[in-house]
Amino acid sequence: MFSRDNWKEIFETIQKNKLRTFLSGFTVALGILIFVVLFGFGNGLINTFNGFFANDATNILRIYPGTTTIPYQGYKSNRRIEFDNDDLADIKRNFPFFLEYITPRISRSYLVKYESESNNYSVLGVAPSHQFAEKTIMMKGRFLNEKDIKNKTKYAVIGRLVQQDLFGNQNALGKYVDVGGSAYMVIGVYQDDGGDNEERSLYVPYTTLQLVEKSNDKVGQIIVAFKEQLGYTGAMAFENGLNKFIRDKKHISPADQSGIFIRNVADQLQKNQQFAGVLQIIVACVAFGTIIAGIIGISNIMVFVVKERTKELGIRKALGATPKSVIGTILLESVFITTVSGFVGMLIGIAILSSLGEKLKDYFITDPYIDIGTAVFATVILIIFGAVAGYIPAQRAARIKPIVALRDE
């Protein structure tokens, strides 16, 4: 069945029936193309969702102070909650089992000057572990350390764009910048994958910031990292415990929605991943539907092809073609066409996906891709079903009496 002669016969038939070849090839190529592109888009969506969290650690809780709305334990409502250094120490003492690290984050905006250049930047008073929470990457110099916190040094770590704005091409390390009237020495320059905004900030020791701001001990928001091995349930338990602890300590009613806010990245990550997973399932269903449509398309064409060739097959049978060779001719031809065009469609689809890259980022599709295994699998499925779909009419054609087939006009 696979002799060179057979193939020559098939190639000739294909060559001389261009419309038919084009029709069936086009259906298959288009089906696979759409499948690959859709599936790739699904993966692109997941990439985007995962990317939301890639530039921050995912094992952190952010605790924001709020304003109470319910009177509780003798305290009036409408009371502003504030965190201070004492709270940091208390959390550290009470949750050693869960806690990986803790850092305050005091956000301010100051006019920052260097020689003739100046601009407004956010200045963040943080502890050294903030570097892990934000996944801050040091380009040069170093980040803040415990000594800086203890000694309340006037050191600043500046963002890449801050350096670019204020220093141009000069080296910022060791230079002094004026932050809201106090001089800070630049000890490091960082970059952050989180975007331009995150590179337009300065980090200073939170103790220094407290000292400059009239020696208070307020810390703004608190970022707490839990041990990753706790997993999702551990993180939720930690969040609940922390919530209760702070409410008790600050006399906030458990029913008060706005006394404090806790943002659990793990929880959000989980929800987003679920969402992305559902999207992937939907996309997979649509892609699967495309394959089914492709199978139906190729089946229709096979029925049409066999019908169109009935007379020819009758002639061939009159000349001595056995049913086996009739089926073989039709099947080999269809398998050959579906294989070639299927893989062409697949390659075009993969080429489209890889050429897109970041271009569809505005539509939440980042780096769409399909793993070759899935693409090949879908193509092979289509080829197999195309062959099965072709086999049934081919078999019927082989069984038609030649005299009936010859009468067909």
Partner: protein, 233 residues
């Protein structure tokens, strides 16, 4: 060469059955050129189709070159057709996307003859029918007479025991018809057994024997003096 005993064939037409062949008996020897005549509906084409294994008889015996043709499955029938028989049809039945040479070579393909040999043989037979220069042309580029000559070359290419022609001149004008008959006579002169179904008396008279069919039975079977078609060409 061919022996038929008590052949019956009927077709179901809805609730009615149409008894087309009602017990045919005859035999053909090697080298004969036999015309089967009859008006339309007399069963002549049915008889030819059964002889050609394109259709099956309901009952009766059919022996071809000493081989009983009975209970054939499609595969066996295909092999016998390929080995024993060559067909010429009224409507030529050439494969329209294949050139004249490829059409002639097709039965050899099913005999698993190698490609080169196939082409050589096909060219040889095209030369015999005078169409060697047309080998590369598609059927659509040929005239009716040329098409029929290609079909005859194709039928001969497999070197069959018997050549079966169903109204070979039915779609041709009389001049072309005589040319085709001249070719058939020459092939017969070379010793081939040929059966021609026709309803045209002048075509039948160019054969060596006429079998008259009427309403499914043979009413007359006579040897005649052959009229040479070359006289009219």
């Amino acid at each position: 060469m061919i022996e038929i005993k008590n052949l019956h064939k009927s077709y179901k037409m809805g609730s009615n059955t149409l008894h087309v062949l009602k017990g045919i008996n005859f035999s053909i020897d090697e080298g004969e050129l036999v015309a089967i005549m009859g008006s339309s509906g007399s069963g002549k084409s049915t008889l030819l189709n059964i002889l050609g294994m394109l259709d099956e008889a309901d009952s009766g015996d059919y022996t071809l070159d000493g081989v009983p043709i009975k209970n054939l499955d499609e595969t066996k029938a295909a092999k016998y057709r390929n080995k024993f028989l060559g067909f010429v049809f009224q409507s030529f039945n050439l494969i329209n996307y294949k050139s004249a040479m490829e059409n002639v070579a097709l039965p050899l393909y099913y005999q698993k003859v190698g490609r080169k040999e196939r082409q050589e043989k096909a060219l040889k037979y095209l030369e015999q029918v005078g169409l060697k220069e047309w080998a590369g042309h598609l059927p659509s580029e040929l005239s009716g007479g040329q098409k029929q000559r290609v079909a005859i070359a194709r039928a001969m290419a497999a070197e069959p025991k018997v050549l079966l022609a169903d109204e070979p001149t039915g779609a041709l004008d009389s001049k072309t018809s005589y040319e085709v008959m001249d070719l058939i006579q020459k092939i017969n002169d070379a010793g081939n057994t040929i059966l021609v179904v026709t309803h045209e008396p002048d075509i039948a008279n160019m054969c060596k024997r006429i079998v008259h069919l009427k309403d499914g039975v043979i009413v007359e079977d006579k040897k005649i003096k052959q009229v040479r078609a070359s006289a009219y060409v």
